[in-house]
Amino acid sequence: MSSNKKPLHTPLTRRSMLKASAATAAIGSAPIIFSSKAYAYANEPKGSDVVLGFNVPQTGAYADEGADELRAYELAVEHLNGGGDGGMMSTFSSKALKGNGILGRKVGYVTGDTQTKPDAARASAKSMIEKDGAIMITGGSSSGVAVAVQGLCQEVGVIFMAGLTHSNDTTGKDKKANGFRHFFNSYMSGAALAPILGENYGTDRRAYHLTADYNWGYTTEEAVRTSTEAMGWETVAAVKTPLTQTDFSSYVAPVQASGADVLVLNHYGANMVNSLTSAVQFGLRNAQANGKNFEIVVPLYSRLMAKGAGENVKGIFGSTNWHWSLQDEGSQAFVKSFGEKYGFPPSQAAHTCYVQTLLYADACERAGTHNPCGVAEALEGFEFDGLGNGKTLYRAEDHQCFKDVLVVKGKENPTSEFDLLEIVEVTPASKVTYDAKIFGGELGTCNAG
């Protein structure tokens, strides 16, 4: 028997199931595209406020560095909105910022916790963009996080102003059109350090590298090896150490018998504190090898982390992006603002985050828009001064800042708990500039969402 009645629901067929799945997948994977249809670009501000997303490590081993970044961001927001003493806004060579927010909109912010894990950092950035309407994401204390979040910002169409990230890859093979880095990188550390090491320790040296077994460690080892070998040093050995290693005694103990007379610790954070402590405990600071004093080098210094190593940093060379003891007008203005608000001097992470926020705001003002592509265009090739580190260029080819790099040494007689490093050389930008092509990668095109 047949029936003329139509079924109430279309029966589920394989074809309809596939269509529904495809449609769902398309909608699910592109929420920004759909939500931004009514807008000229992703998260275009319509009201009187503009929201920035500060994505910093609030938990995990770098939480103290993240807290300092957050302090700097809060200070930058205060200054952008016309509060406080204005900090570096008064010394910044660009005079586009008026202290009335960004393009007349009051600056607000949301924060996320990167946990120093790329997945968690992407998730928190995504949440700030999609739920809170953040138009720019900034912050972080790790290259793995920076590369991951930069990739996300490129996909969804917002600007990423990197925090502390030192790997060559961030503006090298993993560079993106929507991403910008003010912080220096491994190549620059190597280029700045090598001449100072040559002057102080001679050009006939045999180096032993201990390298953290992840991307940043590799690029730093490569940079220091290339620079030091170019001036005559020989690399005796390079040993990779697990990122989770806490006791480095078994890696440090064989160094003295290896024929090396310099130990290079391509470590950061707790790795650096622990490996340096082990090296000093094993007597390397007072040892002799090949008729010379044995020396230790830490390519990337962080004052916050050097504090953990205590007395062990004394006399040890390294590089840093910025230091509160710099005497230029911009640095002093920032140290004064930060120090009076929080009671202690800012770290290099705080400095780069503060500067990145000002640079973003300034680019919006100069471009006359929050549109990421307009902002990116304003930042590309932008030359400025007055933000510490002297004259600086945001290179258009790779979105990397080129500025003076500091070579520092652990201070022998510190006058306070903050006075751990002394600047021994300000290496001019011209000495650390390189061809943008050497690290590969493609910027691609700007994405406005």
Binding site: D247, S250, Y251, Q256, A257, N274, M305, G308, A309, S325
Partner: protein, 345 residues
């Protein structure tokens, strides 16, 4: 491999093994007496280390005077901190007291850790005696996270340097003592101290269990809790005391470890997983097994970190402990000194 390199890594393994053995000893003591798998034991090690940090902070608690001749980072007169102990006992004696903060912290840590151990056992762990091991693991792991977050909230996430006394800074040229050239086998003084300290603590725990009436009752309770209870002995009270002793052992291991690596809130977790492997490899509930396995795995880890070994088998330094555990457990399923019937259905 040269003999000197071999000896160097044996020495390195001994101090690593000392830490593993001390933590695993406490773990297996708790497991053997209370039958509890205590994932908060690493946190006790960490709290012990922070007892040293706390004592250092107390001893360096300072009053501030202004030095008008110097300026701080804001250009204001420099605030000079003078510890109260220097004011009270004179500069030389005060500095000597601060210098010996770590050994003094042993005296400070013992009552603190015993109290923490008692509070943990009476306040939380005892409610989970009759629950499955999975529940015990979850609750003690949760407790470990809470404890480390409390420490982080108060002391921050960065490491805090706690140096050894000046007399123990530097290293011993061990090679020259046994006929090698100078500078071939160097070993830091404090690590020698740590190894000797670990040996004393381990010997004391064994002696306590072996040669005291209390220890005899505890051992009897470990073998047959019910029968000991039927004899009218309050075994629960004794087991609570054993929990406190295990906490104190972990705490002392932490106190003495601070000059080796500056402590941070996460250091307990770094040791926890390896310590569990040590307990399993040594044999669940076996005190001697825990100590033996601690040293064997510590030495193996040191050898696997050698450049020549890593070049031969890349990545071996990250997995050697687990590979050794697999091999040992395949050959001896109850672990090195495990007894039949312990944690077996």
């Amino acid at each position: 491999m040269e003999l000197s390199a071999f000896l160097l890594q044996v020495l390195n393994g001994l101090d690593k093994g000392s830490a593993y053995a001390l933590i695993a000893l406490g773990l297996t003591l708790i497991f053997g007496t209370l039958g509890v798998v205590n994932f908060a034991h690493g946190a006790l090690f960490m709290i012990g280390a922070f007892c040293a940090v706390t004592l250092q902070k107390i001893l360096t608690h300072s009053f501030i005077t202004l030095d008008e001749t110097k300026t701080d980072f804001l250009g204001k007169p420099l605030k000079v901190k003078t510890p109260y102990v220097e004011e009270w006992f004179g500069q030389v004696a005060g500095q000597a007291i601060i210098d010996w903060a770590v050994p003094l912290a042993i005296l400070f840590a013992i009552p603190v850790m015993l109290l923490i151990g008692f509070a943990m056992e009476r306040g939380l762990i005892k409610h989970f005696y009759k629950r499955p091991h999975a529940d015990q693991i979850l609750v003690t792991f949760g407790l470990a996270i809470v404890l480390q977050e409390i420490i982080k909230a108060y002391f921050g996430a960065n490491q805090i340097p706690v140096p050894a006394p000046e007399a123990f800074i530097g290293s011993l040229d061990f090679g020259t003592l046994i006929g090698f050239d100078p500078g071939v086998i160097i070993y830091p003084y404090w690590r020698v101290v740590y190894f000797i300290f670990a040996m004393i603590i381990i010997a004391a725990v064994f002696a306590f269990l072996q040669f005291t009436t209390f220890g005899m009752v505890v051992r009897a309770g470990m073998a047959d809790r019910e029968t000991v209870g039927l004899l009218g002995i309050d075994i629960d009270k004794r087991f609570t005391i054993m929990f406190g002793i295990a906490a104190a052992v972990a705490g002392l291991a932490g106190v003495m470890y601070t000059p080796i690596n500056p402590p941070n809130y996460h250091m307990g977790m770094d040791f926890l997983v390896i310590s569990f492997v040590v307990v399993v490899v040594g044999g669940m509930g076996s005190l001697g097994g825990a100590v033996l396995a601690g040293f064997i795995l510590g030495i193996l880890e040191s050898f696997a970190s050698m450049r020549e070994v890593i070049e031969f088998i890349p990545g071996i330094n990250q997995v050697v402990i687990y590979l050794a555990a697999i091999v040992i457990l395949l050959a001896r399923p109850r672990g090195l000194l495990g007894r039949k019937g312990v944690m077996e259905s």
